[in-house]
């Protein structure tokens, strides 16, 4: 059981870290602002989510686990809306 959980953690955290790698590569290599934004959201949502998922078996108390889920949900809502805001700002500057 222990081993299975550890393997689960390693897989989840590694894939989360991969999304951060992908997000960074996208942020650096993609040609314009809006496509970069697309790369960023992947890291924000999936990367953090997978890492949280991987950490869940390791937390000491259920309440802390709840907080981790709350962190992810907050980050999800916040980063999705923030991306919208940044995109609108970028588009607004181009449009006018």
């Amino acid at each position: 059981m222990r081993l299975a959980l550890d393997i689960f953690t390693i897989v989840a955290v590694s894939s989360g870290a991969f999304f951060f790698l992908a997000g960074t590569v996208g942020l650096l290599r993609f040609p314009d602002t809006l496509t970069r934004l697309h790369a960023l959201t992947k890291a924000d949502n999936l990367g953090l989510g997978l890492i949280m998922l991987g950490l869940l078996p390791h937390v000491a108390w259920p309440f802390v686990a709840l907080k981790l889920v709350a962190v992810w949900v907050l980050a999800l809502v916040a980063s999705a809306s923030a991306s919208q805001l940044i995109a609108r700002k970028v588009r607004g500057r181009r449009g006018s």
Partner: protein
């Protein structure tokens, strides 16, 4: 396992740190803001990974950071709009 989590924390931090090159290069302010946003998320991940789920306080710090993660972006979104949008006098206000 703690070693692995710490290594993962280092990796994530290194990745988002690389992303900071965008602050340097721009070219638009939006790009710079994005790098900060990415570092915010990556910082939360690194913080929790480094604590390895052990420290309850780390979850509180992460919660604070997550709550304020989009804060700078939100302030940025409005920052170009001048507050003069606010101009007409309101009733009951001293002039």
């Amino acid at each position: 396992m703690p070693e692995f989590l710490l290594a993962a924390a280092g990796f994530v931090l290194a990745m988002v740190a690389l992303g900071l090159v965008r602050i340097l290069r721009g070219p638009e302010d939006g790009d710079r803001m994005m790098a900060a946003q990415l570092l915010g998320t990556g910082g939360i991940a690194a913080l929790l990974l480094a604590a390895g789920g052990g420290l309850p306080a780390a979850a509180d710090v992460a919660l604070t950071l997550a709550l304020l993660a989009a804060f700078a972006s939100m302030a940025f979104a409005k920052s170009g709009v001048s507050p003069e949008a606010y101009d007409e006098p309101k009733p009951g206000e001293k002039e």
